[in-house]
């Protein structure tokens, strides 16, 4: 209680927000001349975010609140070292609404918000690709949320595989937790081992995703999500996935994405979809024992900014 009072009165040195994602539209790997590369395209979730504030604590070393966010602290220290900056006497105060260990990239988003806050504090900008690689150093993986343009991202390398030729297609997304009582920690998870056929399949999904962005086509976007979700069933199966796919199809929706390291399932319906349509999908998934986490509109004309 006392701490709260002190920090709330103490000066905020800098702050930044990072937005998260609701699982993946595409996750897999491709074979290139120099070997196999894992890659993904995450479904941006404008309603899920972390705010990081750097709050002065004179006389005390750099810390993080909550204190268990140790990787965030390591990432902050690494960035400061790279910048040749001394560590500020401050606490990194994290505020987030991202569900933990569900596959929404909460940890990466915390780090990203923190790094942005530090850069702002130091009044320095660095290329987002560089920021991505820094996160990979700390996290062993990252996602494309860092990038200001949609891109298929080599998440283990922190590199862009391919920028996509346009803005996100316009869709209404219902983010669902398919297993509310399950926690899927990212790190100890076995990496998917893809067959040669699956590696080839991801070439095809990349082709279709490129088309989706080139045309702004939500149906192509949704088709990729569903296909990738079905491949993911071999590695981290979601209960009732086919039922959710059928529900979405009945409402004229485009497809279903999943978190490849989590329990999240994202249903993609037409933009500004009918309230009844939305209610039917939400009601049906709740009957399957699932929870609705958040909903939002993506793409052209959608309200991207959410108060944070």
């Amino acid at each position: 209680m006392e701490t709260t009072t002190i920090t709330s009165m103490a000066p905020v040195l800098a702050g930044a927000v990072a937005r998260s994602h609701a699982g993946e539209i595409l996750q897999g790997a491709v074979r290139r001349a120099d070997g196999i590369h894992r890659l993904l395209f995450s479904l941006p979730a404008p309603t899920l975010w972390t705010k990081a504030e750097l709050i002065a604590t004179p006389g005390r070393a750099l810390t993080v609140d909550p204190p268990w966010a140790k990787k965030t602290l390591s990432a902050a220290q690494l960035l400061l070292r790279r910048l040749g900056s001394p560590e500020p006497e401050a606490v990194i105060q994290l505020t987030t609404n991202i569900p933990l260990a569900k596959g929404c990239g909460s940890s990466t988003t915390d780090i990203l918000a923190t790094l942005r806050a530090i850069l702002r504090y130091r009044r320095i900008t660095i290329a987002e690709e560089e920021l991505a690689r820094l996160i990979v150093e700390v996290e062993k993986a990252s996602d494309g949320s860092i990038l200001s343009r949609p891109a298929i991202f080599r998440h283990r390398e922190g590199l862009v595989e391919r920028y996509l030729p346009g803005p996100l297609p316009n869709v209404h997304v219902i983010v669902i937790d398919a297993q509310p009582s399950e926690i899927v920690p990212t790190e100890p998870m076995q990496r998917a081992r893809y067959s040669e056929e699956q590696l080839g399949a991801f070439d095809v999904l990349i082709g279709r995703l490129t088309r989706a962005f080139g045309l702004g086509s939500p149906s192509d976007f949704g088709a990729v999500a569903t296909a990738s979700a079905r491949i993911s069933q071999h590695f981290l199966p979601k209960p009732h996935l086919e039922e959710v796919i059928a529900l979405v199809r009945q409402e004229g929706g485009y497809g279903v994405g999943v978190a490849h390291s989590g329990t999240i399932v994202s249903a993609m319906l037409p933009p500004q979809c009918l309230a009844e349509s939305d209610a039917r999908v939400c009601g049906a998934v709740r009957e399957l024992g699932m929870e609705v986490v958040t909903e939002f509109e993506l793409g052209l004309g959608a309200q991207q900014e959410v108060a944070a």
Binding site: R31, R32, A33, E196, E197, L199, G200, A201, D203, V204, L205, I206, G207, R208, T210, R211, G214, S217, S219, D220, A223, V224, A227, R230, I231
Partner: protein
């Protein structure tokens, strides 16, 4: 996309062409360059070949040319076992690329020439101890190569209901259909064969349509991927090939003609479905088959093409100019009652 025109000096990426609202051709100059490049790349990655390895293959068709081009690019020696059906012009094109053409003597018009070629292949393998035989019929990499073609289709065309492909090794059709089914598991794959080809249960015999069909069973043909089979006779395919050019400006080879015949018919009867067919090679190699007088002199001209395929209830009943059969993704043995004798697929 796995490789570029810039690198290969020859297209690896096909040209998708819209013929009608729901009918698309995937036109290649030389489709077989796609698996040739992919198979050599994979063999290199797996340490199966080095710069001294002699590539040996038996082919009288486009796969030989694909390997010749790719071996030239990679600076590798290539021995092609082939038969006298290969035209002198084609042979010169191969030798100009440094290919050693190992020609068998037999002039048999039917499948027996394949045995002579296999015997010669064994000889060449003994002559060159450091060799690698890609083996288009049984090498899984041949099928896997078509992910790049499916990628192109997924990007340029999007949703596909039906794929029509001429079948010889089975790799292009089964590969492309398999990869497209990741996005649409209900995709209908129509295999195009010719009479007297054993692929779908016909007896082996002489065939006037080359570039598809087979006298042996290749491991790359997955019968359980096939929804329908069409058998098209050479003369009908040659007329369809000419029609593809006259109606749509696509100057392609006879297997493209056979596939166009089938795809065009299906697309007209199913206007709500997106139909895609593969055109494996360009027409330049076949001046005679475009020459109506030559076709007449050689008894390969049909004045009237059948308007519809004749549906048969068993592969053995296919005996017309153009027959079709609902294969329904069944194993070979279940359809024909005969065991399927063939090599294992080489992964």
């Amino acid at each position: 996309m796995t490789s570029s025109f810039l690198e290969h000096g020859f297209e690896l990426v096909p040209r998708p062409v819209r013929l009608r609202t729901n009918l698309f051709a995937i036109a290649f100059f030389l489709m077989k360059l796609v698996p040739a490049a992919f198979m050599l790349r994979r063999a290199k990655e797996e340490g199966l070949i080095d710069s001294q390895t002699v590539i040996i293959e038996t082919s009288s068709g486009n796969f030989g040319m694909g390997l010749a081009l790719e071996c030239h690019r990679l600076g590798m020696r290539f021995v092609l076992v082939t038969d006298p059906a290969v035209a002198p012009v084609w042979r010169r094109r191969l030798t100009d690329l440094g290919t050693t053409v190992s020609m068998v003597e037999t002039t048999a018009g039917d499948g027996n020439v394949q045995n002579a070629r296999l015997a010669r292949l064994e000889q060449e393998m003994r002559r060159h101890p450091n060799h690698y035989v890609p083996g288009q019929y049984n090498n899984l990499a041949n099928r896997l190569a078509y992910s790049s073609v499916a990628e192109r289709i997924a990007d340029d065309i999007g949703h596909v209901d039906v794929l029509v492909a001429a079948t010889g090794s089975g790799a292009s059709g089964c590969g492309t259909a398999g990869f497209l089914r990741v996005l649409n598991p209900d995709l209908r794959f129509i295999a195009v064969d010719t009479h007297n080809s054993v692929l779908f249960g016909q007896p082996n015999g002489p065939r006037s349509l080359r570039g598809l069909g087979n006298s042996k069973h290749p491991a790359n043909l997955d019968h359980t991927a096939v929804d329908d089979v069409h058998w098209v006779q050479g003369p009908v395919a040659f007329q369809a090939m000419r029609r593809l050019y006259r109606e749509h400006r696509l100057y392609q080879g006879p297997t493209s003609g056979a596939s166009f015949l089938v795809a065009d018919d299906y697309a007209r009867k199913h206007p709500d479905q997106i139909v895609v067919f593969l055109c494996p090679d360009h027409g330049e190699r076949y001046p005679d088959l475009y020459d109506q007088e030559w076709l007449r002199r050689n008894g390969l001209h049909v004045p009237v093409t059948p308007a519809d395929p004749h549906e048969v209830d068993s592969p053995l009943a296919a005996s017309g100019d153009w027959d079709c059969f609902q294969w329904c993704r069944r194993p070979y043995g279940e359809v024909t009652g005969e065991p399927l004798i063939r090599p294992e697929v080489k992964a």
